[in-house]
Point group: C2
């Protein structure tokens, strides 16, 4: 777990280039976006909503679910055979777990690990007091800078990777930042993984939509990091959703097996819309989440003991009037806080939250829902935050403007996580003595010495007078976000990539694309 | 402190009407706004950012400020004489406090008390695990339902009182919900207090802009509650700002003296824009806030031992580029969390937060800033939340649309504060057993039994599909808020007021208005 070395730029990850150049690039990265910030090491505590008794009730209930109800593994016989050999009671595809089996298996899972980037300066720590932000994952649509809602393309994909690369408080370029639907579905994972490698040097996620696509992701990672390095280190996080309630399907299990075998991390995430995929109550939802994570995460340890795995939770509810998903409401926040506690007790890194919303546009609804989710995410002590920027319309849309607004908020969370400075300078007694009653602090020595770093500076908030704001066109924040986004994309500079690696990647992609016909479903 | 009796409708507060009628009205209150909710009794814990060592450092530093730097009391000789007699070291208007003096004086201040409404069903508890929401306070402008930004009028004032009365999760109709600038400055307090009594039966705040206006507020309260009741119970909270740094001015001291003498509560609030009125650091700001509150709150106990007083904190920063106030940023959140801890250690109820923002319109900037402030407010364990709804443009504007959006968010906070239900029904094991793997919970018995109360229902969030939203006009949330606001105002029904009380109030106002010439500055 040499995260300190990774943090300080030690090691050499990208074949063919030395660390000096990488370090210099890191320090000037981001074009007009400002200096990049390392992942968060939280100095503030976590907020908890369950006491020992509550946690025990949920843990006991989850054990009961695992034993009595069981979890379905809709795989070929392999997964079921593995469970039989491990001592589970397998009936058809339903696996019943003797009490304690999953927890016992999970003892080999690391509680913390390093997620390596091709630029070692960008490697991040997963677990403990670390928090890592990654962009939205999955939308088939975008809302573009001309205000049009349309299907996403590979150009949009590249743009969001570039933006995530430039955003100072985003620490990973993510995974499926949008679905490039202009590329055949059986080939697009190649372009997606390539885009992450080519246009960013932050850590990225692998493809999970089929086992062979997971294998392709691993193969491409090996071209970048080297074969041996990949087999011994985590270079990809991979989103493995449970098909809640209480099912893992063949696709997800197939991908999980590939990644675990290659020592890559699974983000084992029940995807929960409470009321539809879980009970309408917080405690019932937490029970089901824990049962699903215990079974799914333990499975990764059956595949390869020691493979990294995260306790994931995607928490939302449905409207009981319309059945539509809702976000940023109190119940999913309670679920996230509770799930984080359960993950800590299990000793697994935790994923939840982001900037989730149901709104169709980046208006105050989107912002309230996103802010409620994001504040919860930070204070819960979340280690990996998917969907931290760009999510709109229940995850159907990647929005450029929302991405910019969200990344600004992520900067605020990053500052918040630093907590209260209690050094002598932080105490500021000299300032209070110098200024005294009835004066002001604007020009005092302490203010002069600290004003540049004192407060988080938003590039998007308008704090001017009404009159000044009016003179400047009475703009909404999304108009300023639009302009800033165009500015960033105009100023984007790609991080260097060794041409021999680039050629090897392109050759691999060409060979793989030639090997199969296009498929669009 | 018979808050339980108040909560359950015990006692008889409004002269001339019985409690049965009041109870019936309370249950159907709010017109189209849904049933009114009682003030919050938090079942969730508080979030804290300072450990014991950090708290001790700040407390020690505040003691040093009080002793060495001192606080100015810019009053006639009375306040300074009181401090001399209490053992302080008074030099001119500067008061230096021997260590421990303020804390000793504060031992007589109640840690919790009831704030009585004229309808006993609406009385609220201040302190402990109670949280009370009140609307925006102070703006001279409104942004009206036609989208115009203009000076506020008494009609606007009445409207905001009506909306606060109707809003289910607002527990007080507040104080200066906007400045009715169409009424002479020396008379408008009479119309403001009357509006609170006439158009709402929730607890309200008194005037603090001059000692005689405070006296008028007390006199009007006595016409409603009876003379003896007022002298023995709190019927008004009153906002007493420190003139930071480290000054209390004559106006505020004058009002504080009036209210304390009549046993009414002071919300003793340093009004802090960090970087201008306090140091640029969180710890330095907390030190100054604690020193100011200790001096100001102790002063109320010199006036009348036992008079209720709150530890207030208005936390914001300034932009170090432009000097403009900023809101919803991380540093004021840390200040609020820390100040809440200091208040608990001092045994005083705590006021901070709200839905603060700098944005000129209810866009995503306004929402992010407000949500960051409001989430902090709730988790800090704040007892009295001024500016909980309607605040726009740094407090210069009361916005109808923002009020509606905010009050919806207050409902979410209220639900959040209920925490996790761990009853057998909450655990939902029957539901998990009934549904099992691969099915859904939409129709199961547990969902059927709980769906009506399971999740917070927003009246403003649009969770529909994109297509449905488009059919309905592609509306932003503020358009829906506008329509809902018009609906509420159309459906407003005044709570009954005993005609003899009403006549007495009107006669008092007429007599007072006749006694002085109009003044507009």
């Amino acid at each position: 777990m040499d995260d300190n070395a990774a943090q300080s730029g030690g090691g050499r990850r990208t074949r063919g280039e030395g660390r000096g150049a990488a370090a210099r690039r890191a320090s000037r990265s981001g074009g007009g976006a400002g200096p990049s910030m390392p992942y968060i090491r939280r100095k503030i505590g976590v907020y908890e909503v369950l006491d020992e008794e509550g946690l025990s009730i949920i843990e006991r209930n989850a054990d009961t679910v695992l034993e009595e109800v069981g979890i379905e593994f809709r795989d070929d016989a392999e997964a079921l055979d593995m469970w039989k050999q491990a001592g589970a009671d397998v009936k058809g595809q339903r696996v019943h777990f003797p009490k304690g089996l999953c927890r016992e298996l999970l003892k080999t899972a690391p509680s913390e690990f390093t997620w390596h980037a091709r630029n070692p300066e960008r490697s991040v720590h997963i677990g403990g007091n670390a928090t890592v932000f990654a962009p939205v994952y999955g939308p088939p649509f975008v809302r573009d800078l001309d205000g049009t809602r349309r299907y996403a393309t590979i150009e949009d994909f590249r743009n969001f990777v570039k933006l995530a690369y430039m955003a100072p408080s985003i620490h990973s370029s993510g995974g499926t930042v949008c679905e490039p639907v202009d590329i055949p579905v059986n080939k697009r994972h190649l372009d997606m993984v390539y885009s992450h490698i080519k246009y960013s040097d932050k850590p990225f996620m692998g493809s999970v939509t089929a086992p062979e696509r997971a294998e392709d992701s691993v193969a491409m990672a090996k071209l970048v990091f080297g074969e041996e390095f990949v087999e011994n280190n985590c270079v990809m996080l991979n989103l493995i959703n449970a098909n809640s309630p209480m099912v893992f399907d063949e696709t997800m299990l197939g991908a999980a097996k590939v990644y675990a075998r290659h020592n890559q991390a699974s983000v084992l995430s029940p995807f929960i819309l409470s009321g539809a995929m879980s009970p309408v109550t917080v405690a019932g939802t937490l029970t089901q989440i824990l049962a699903e994570v215990l079974a799914g995460a333990a499975f990764t340890q059956l595949v390869r003991p020691g493979a990294p795995v995260l306790f994931g939770t995607f928490a939302a509810s449905i409207s009981m009037q319309s059945g539509a998903p809702t976000f940023g409401t109190p119940e999913p926040s309670l679920v996230s806080y509770g799930a984080a506690q359960l993950a800590r007790r299990l000793g697994l890194p935790f994923r939840t939250g982001g900037s989730l919303c149901a709104s169709k546009i980046p208006d105050a609804q989107a912002a309230h829902e996103s802010a409620n989710t994001l504040n919860t995410t930070l204070l819960a002590g979340t280690n990996f935050v998917l969907h931290a920027a760009g999510w709109l319309e229940g995850g159907l849309v990647s929005s450029y403007e929302k991405f910019m607004i969200d990344q600004d908020q992520l900067g605020m969370m990053q500052k918040m996580a630093m907590g209260v400075d209690l050094t002598e300078d932080g105490q500021a007694m000299d300032a209070i003595r110098e200024v005294g009653p009835g004066s002001h602090y604007l020009g005092c020595a302490h203010t002069q010495a600290n004003f540049q770093t004192a407060f988080y500076r938003s590039a998007l908030a308008d704090n001017n007078s009404f009159e000044q704001w009016e003179i400047e066109g009475s703009k909404r924040i999304e108009e300023r976000a639009n302009a800033l986004c165009r500015n960033w994309l105009d100023n984007y500079e790609a991080p260097p990539l060794d041409p021999t690696i680039d050629e090897a990647l392109l050759a691999f992609i060409a060979q793989r694309k030639d090997s199969m016909p296009d498929a669009f479903t």
